[in-house]
Every structure is written in C-alpha cells, then in structure tokens.
C-alpha cells in the first residue's frame, strides 16, 4: 500500500494512501488462517463476518467479499478507513499475538471501494409494516438505524439539521482521511433502501417535540457535538477556535478554497492545537495543509495519546511538533492571539482510567509564539433536543441514558451513538444504531398500532 510522501501530501487534501491493489489484497488475505472461532469477529462491534470476506478476497471473489461485509455493515468504505482497528478487530486477531495481525481495515476498504451499488440487490427489504419512524441525526448511528429499520419494512424519515447528511463523517473527519465522495456513496446506498432524508431540519425547532412523538417510534442520534473550551483566560480572543469550528469550516464548507468557496478561515502561520485524540490530530493536520507550523500540546505522555496509531504517525511525519506533558494556561493577545502560555505537567499516581494523572509542575511556564489556537479537548452530547424531551433520564455528562438495547426512559423513544455514550467511535455508534433498530422493530411488532 503506497503512502504518498509527507512533503507531497501536506500540499493538498487528497488521501494519504491509495489502499491495497488487488494483488496486495489477495496476498494479505491469504495470510488469514481462517480460525474456527474467529477472535477478530468478537472484536467488531457490528459483527462483520471477517474470515468469510477475507477468504473471498483470497480467492478473488471480490463482489462476494463486498456483499458479505454489507450484510453486517452498510458503511464499510468508511469503517475500513477510520475504525480504530488496533483496539477492535485487528487487536483481537490471533495472528497479532505472535506476529502481525491481518490488516482487516485495509481489506475491508479494498472490497468496499470496488463496485458501484449493484450489491443493493442482495439487501432484502421486508414488506411494508405501515409504521412510521423518525430518526434524528444522520451520523453513523442514525444512518445505520435508518437503514436497518427500512430493511425491516418500516417507513423511515431521517432528519438532519445541517445541509448535508453524515454527521462527523462530513463535518469532522477531513478529506485526506475520509473522502467526501466515499461518504456520499455509502449514504446513497442507505437512502436507496427507501429512507426519506430531510436536511436543514433541526428537530426541536423545525419539528416540535409533539410532532416528533407523533411517530410510531423515534431514534435519537444527535451525537456529541457540543465543543468544550478549556476555560482559561483569553479564550474569546480572535483566532481561538474549537476543533469543531475549525474542521467544519474546512470539511463541510470548503474554506481551504476561499474565496472561491464563501467561508473564510484564519490561515494562521503558527498554530497551537490542544488535545491528543483523533480530533486533535485532524485539526493539526488540516492546519498544516493550510500552510502553518503546528504544535500539538498534550497533557500526558506520548504513549497515552488516544488517537488512532496511524494518525499519530502521519501527523508526526507531516511535521507536527508534539509538546507532551504540557498544558495551556493562558492565551495572550488582544484583540487577536499572539501566543499561548503553557505549563509542564508531571505524571503522578494512576487515575481511575489506569493512566498517570498529570499535575502542574510549579514554575515551569513557557510561551509558544502563535497566532491561532485550536482546542480539541473534547465534546459533550448535544443538549438541544435532550433538554426539550421532558422527563427523559439524562446522565451525568448530559447524555441520554439507555438500556443495552437502546431504550430511553420514555416510551417509543430510543437513542444511540455519541448522544448516549458521549464522544466515542464510528463503529460503536453504528453498533448502537443496529441494536436499537432491532429493538424498535421487535417492540413495534409486539405493540398495537399507535
């Protein structure tokens, strides 16, 4: 799998690598020993039949590989690219215990990227049930639930507040990791199942709660889009962004093409990104592509970075400077950013997550001369709809509380994805969408018409 050189790829927003060739895919697939009890499958939240599709690739039955994956996962071109495979399917692969795990993500991407929707015929749709279901939010959780519900014969309306469906897949994750054309193709597959999409519709405002509850069932998948700010002095200064804003301006609005595209972005020449997850890596690498020198300031040690392994490597190759065990305490400049004051952190006793908890080292402050700051320190569940749902049980972090099958405390109201778990992953959101769809289907079949 040929990766483009860092020097070349920071000049544009095209993908870092072009994926497996057929020959590379076949030879990687041949390494799979076809375990009788495949550990890899238990590592996949949607239960893709990995040995079966890998075998199909090994035997060059590529179409069959694709339809095998699609049975369990309707967004495989997305997942092959962005799942944290090292902690999921590949992390569980038996070959990884002694040597190199099968590169399941790249194989999935390879199989899924081929073909142009002809596999739809293999997705059976049950006869219409006459039930109407509202799905709120078109990220991976909502798309998956909508598709599964449509396959069960329900009539599904998918509401999205933005002008484009996809949630974080379109506004958050950048083009060089997940091309928009790939996302669009997968979404079209979902819509082709008969899902009705209504964009520009903010549920809670465009659609009232009464109107929403008039559906036979409601699945809420509004995500965890509310950005957190650090709460340090200087945050209102011009040039301080949330990662969500920075990434949305570029990914959703095309600000890298300004002024040909209407949305501007500060083309800072010296950018500080705070955080260490996928979001921070994405923001840093976007800033790099807009021509900046970039520092990534992270509280803990390098080994603790929660981002996907590949993204950390790619970021480093692209010249992002990692400042670990450090934390910003003040943003300087008025009216626009001129620098970020940071302190060194000392790693102390283990915290509840088993990682050493950082503590400020006295007198260690230092200044990074910067003109733009991007905060990627986390997001929390979108409060708008949650607040309007009277009497619904809400968790400590503002999340909707659900049982393991996606039921909220309100009858006929289900939820899944980041709105229920807090910021997590694409595949966990999809798993939740799938489970909730099965619950909704079962509950509706048991219940008299609403």
């Amino acid at each position: 799998m040929a990766e483009r050189s860092p020097g070349e790829r920071i000049l544009d927003f095209s993908e870092v690598d072009s994926g497996f060739t057929a020959e590379e895919a076949r030879s990687e697939a041949e390494r799979c020993i076809q375990c009788k009890k495949p550990a890899c499958v238990s590592g996949c939240p949607v239960g893709v039949d990995i040995p079966r599709f890998v075998l199909a690739i090994a035997e060059e039955r590529f179409d069959e590989a694709r339809s095998t994956i699609l049975e369990a996962n309707l967004l495989p071109s997305v997942c092959g690219r962005v799942c944290p495979q090292e902690t999921q399917c590949e992390g569980a692969c038996i070959l990884g215990k002694k040597g190199r795990a099968i590169n399941i993500g790249a194989l999935e991407r390879f199989a899924a990227d081929r073909g142009e929707g002809e596999e739809l015929g293999t997705l059976v749709r049950a006869p219409p049930t006459g039930r109407r279901i509202a799905v709120v939010g078109s990220g991976p959780a909502g798309l998956t639930a909508a598709a599964e519900l449509a396959r069960s014969g329900h009539s599904v309306v998918l509401f999205e507040s933005l002008h484009e469906p996809g949630g974080v897949l379109v506004y958050g994750i950048p083009e060089f990791r997940l091309p928009k054309s790939v996302v669009r193709r997968e979404i079209e597959r979902v819509l082709a199942l008969g899902v009705e999409l209504q964009t520009n519709t903010l549920v809670g405002r465009s659609i009232t709660i009464e109107e929403l509850l008039a559906y036979d069932a409601v699945f809420i998948s509004t995500g965890a889009g509310l950005p957190s700010f650090m709460g340090i002095p200087g945050e209102e200064t011009n040039g301080v962004y949330s990662a969500n804003e920075y990434l949305t301006r570029v990914n959703l609005m095309g600000a890298e093409r300004f002024p040909a595209a209407g949305t501007p972005i500060r083309r800072g020449s010296r950018v500080v990104v705070t955080g260490g997850g996928n979001v921070a890596m994405d923001a840093a690498r976007v800033a790099r592509r807009l021509g900046a020198k970039v520092w990534l300031v992270y509280r803990r040690r390098e080994d603790d970075l929660p981002a996907r392994r590949d993204e950390v490597r790619h970021a480093r190759e692209e010249g992002i400077e990692f400042v670990t065990c450090a934390s910003p305490v003040r943003i300087h400049g008025e009216p626009a950013v001129t620098g970020v004051e940071c302190v060194r952190m000392e790693m102390c006793d283990l915290d509840e997550s088993g990682r050493p908890s950082p503590r400020v080292l006295d007198g260690s402050s230092f200044l990074i001369d910067a003109d733009t700051v991007i905060q990627a320190i986390g997001t929390s569940p979108n409060p708008l709809l949650v607040r309007l749902l009277e009497g619904v049980q809400v968790g400590r972090r503002g999340n909707l509380v659900t049982d393991e099958n996606g039921r909220t405390s309100l009858p006929r109201v289900y939820a899944g994805g980041d709105i229920a778990t807090g910021a997590a992953t694409v595949i966990l959101a999809m798993g939740a969408g799938k489970r909730a769809a099965a619950t909704i289907d079962a509950d509706l079949r048991d219940a008299p018409a609403h």
């Binding site: 465009s206 009232t208 095309g254 209407g262 501007p264 972005i265």
Partner: protein
C-alpha cells in the same frame, strides 16, 4: 433547493426576499432566524425571520459582503441551495404589559413580527424605529399597523424626528411605565440604547449577531459573554438580557474576518458582475 417568490429592494442597500420554505415557516416564531446558503460553495449566513405567511418566510438584509451581495442579485423564480430553520429561541412573550420595540437600521427588519406577537398577547406596544437617513428607512407601514404608537427618527433629520432611537426611548420611559424593551440593530446601537433602560431597571432584550457557522450549537463560533459566562448565541439566544451582554467582546469577534471579507467581496465583484468598483448595485 428553495424557490425565491419575491425579491425587492426596499431602501439603499436593503433588500427583501420571500422564500418558499414550509419546514421553516411551519413552526417559526418571533425572534428566530434561519440560515441560508445561496449555492453549493456558499457561506452559511444567519438572517432573522422577518415575516411568515403560510409556507413562505421573508428575510430583509443589508448588502455588506459577498454573500449578501450575492443574495441581492436573486430575482423571483431563482433557487436558493439551502434554507435551515427556524433557529434560536423565540422571543419571550409577556402578557398585559407595556412593551417598547426599538429597531435601528436593518435591525428594523426583525421588529414587526415581534410587535405583532406582543400585540396578540394583549400588550401595549410602542414602536421606535431609527435609521441614518430617509433612504434607509424601512417597514414603517408594517410597524405602524403592528404598534399602538410609533416613533420614527433619522440621525440626520431627513425624515421623522431628528436624532437617535435612544433619545425617543428616554422620553417614552419618562412619560409612561414601560415593562419590557426590545432593541435590535447594529451592536453599537444596541449597546448605547440599552444604557437608557439600565438605571430604571427595565427588562431589556437585544438580539445578538455574532458570526455563525452551523447555527445548531456545535461549533462555538457564535460564543458571546453574557453575565460573565460563555453562551452560544445560536441556541441560547439570539436574544439576551441587554444589561448583561459584553458588547465590546461581541464587536471584537465580529471583526475576525475583516481582511478575508474584503477579499471575498473583491472576488465576488470580479467574478459575478464585473463591476470591480466594490460599489453597491441595486
């Protein structure tokens, strides 16, 4: 795609568009806004919902940058890529009170719908609308119809009373007991005018207009400081208690993209209409 059914110029650089957008119109209330994106490469810009008739919503805007100039070029029958809304919280509506609705410049666009809503809730409504000069005065008839009493001012005295809306407001509250005041206009006008009601302690709302992107609470571009706390104008507002708003910060953040906006406007004039002067056209 959403169709424009009416497009008219109301005053110098002030235009009106009526768009068919049933999903916005159906539940729209006074004080809310919508977001438009003219074409697939367009910026998302917020505009107040100025009137609702059946499936149709009206917006009124001033041409100041690339997107508003682009919007001003539309004519009836044209299509707009996206219209999202209604967004933001509706105005708080008291009952049986005396209310003053003060509009400045293009901010007058938001006033008739609020005045009408207040009137329908059995309030006495006093309107005060002010513009720089007679060529910028809009919606006087609609305001006269919606209010029990209407005062009109211009900064240069070219029409109505000579002076500022703030002066009239001062006189009105000296003369009768006013319970609630709405002030809508440019940030500096809202800042100055709301000082009038601070000492008498009259509950006063202003509609803030920071730069927005999504308008749904997920980016923080629209953050404003109210009572020392960070709030998102698109979901927590746009109306806030005037006496707690940090207007200086609002005005500072409105200027983030000054340079880029100039570049965008230049690009717009060079690429769309060929008049590279930057002057308005109408």
């Amino acid at each position: 795609m959403y169709s424009v059914v009416k497009a008219e110029q109301l005053a110098d650089r002030v235009h009106e568009l009526v768009v068919k957008a049933p999903h916005v119109a159906r539940n729209a209330r006074a004080g809310q806004f919508l977001i438009v994106r003219v074409d697939p490469d367009g910026e998302r810009i917020p505009l107040t919902i100025s009137r609702v008739d059946g499936d149709f919503v009206r917006v009124i805007f001033m041409t100041i940058g690339a997107t508003t100039y682009r919007l001003a070029e539309l004519t009836a029958g044209d299509m707009i890529q996206d219209v999202a809304g209604p967004l933001g919280r509706p105005s708080e509506v008291p009952r049986n009170a005396t209310c003053a609705v003060v509009g400045g410049g293009v901010g007058i666009a938001s006033c008739p719908i609020i005045a009408k809503t207040l009137k329908a809730a059995a309030n006495r409504v006093i309107g005060i609308i002010g513009a720089r000069n007679v060529d910028l005065m809009i919606l006087e008839d609609e305001m006269r119809e919606a209010c029990d009493e209407l005062f009109v001012t211009t900064d240069d005295g070219s029409y109505g009373r000579h002076g500022y809306a703030a002066d009239v407001l001062k006189e009105v509250i000296a003369e009768e007991k006013v319970d609630y005041v709405w002030i809508i206009g440019p940030a500096i006008m809202m800042k100055v005018t709301s000082e009038v009601t601070r000492a008498p302690g009259i509950r006063t709302f202003v509609s803030l207009n920071p730069i927005m992107v999504d308008g749904t609470g997920m980016c923080g571009s629209c953050r404003v400081i109210v009572n020392g706390e960070t709030r998102f104008a698109c979901v927590d507002g746009p109306e806030f208690d005037a006496h707690q708003v940090d207007f200086d910060r609002l005005m500072q953040r409105q200027r983030i993209y000054l340079e880029e906006e100039r570049e965008a406007l230049k690009h717009h004039h060079e690429h769309r209409c060929g008049c590279s002067t930057g002057a308005h056209h109408g």
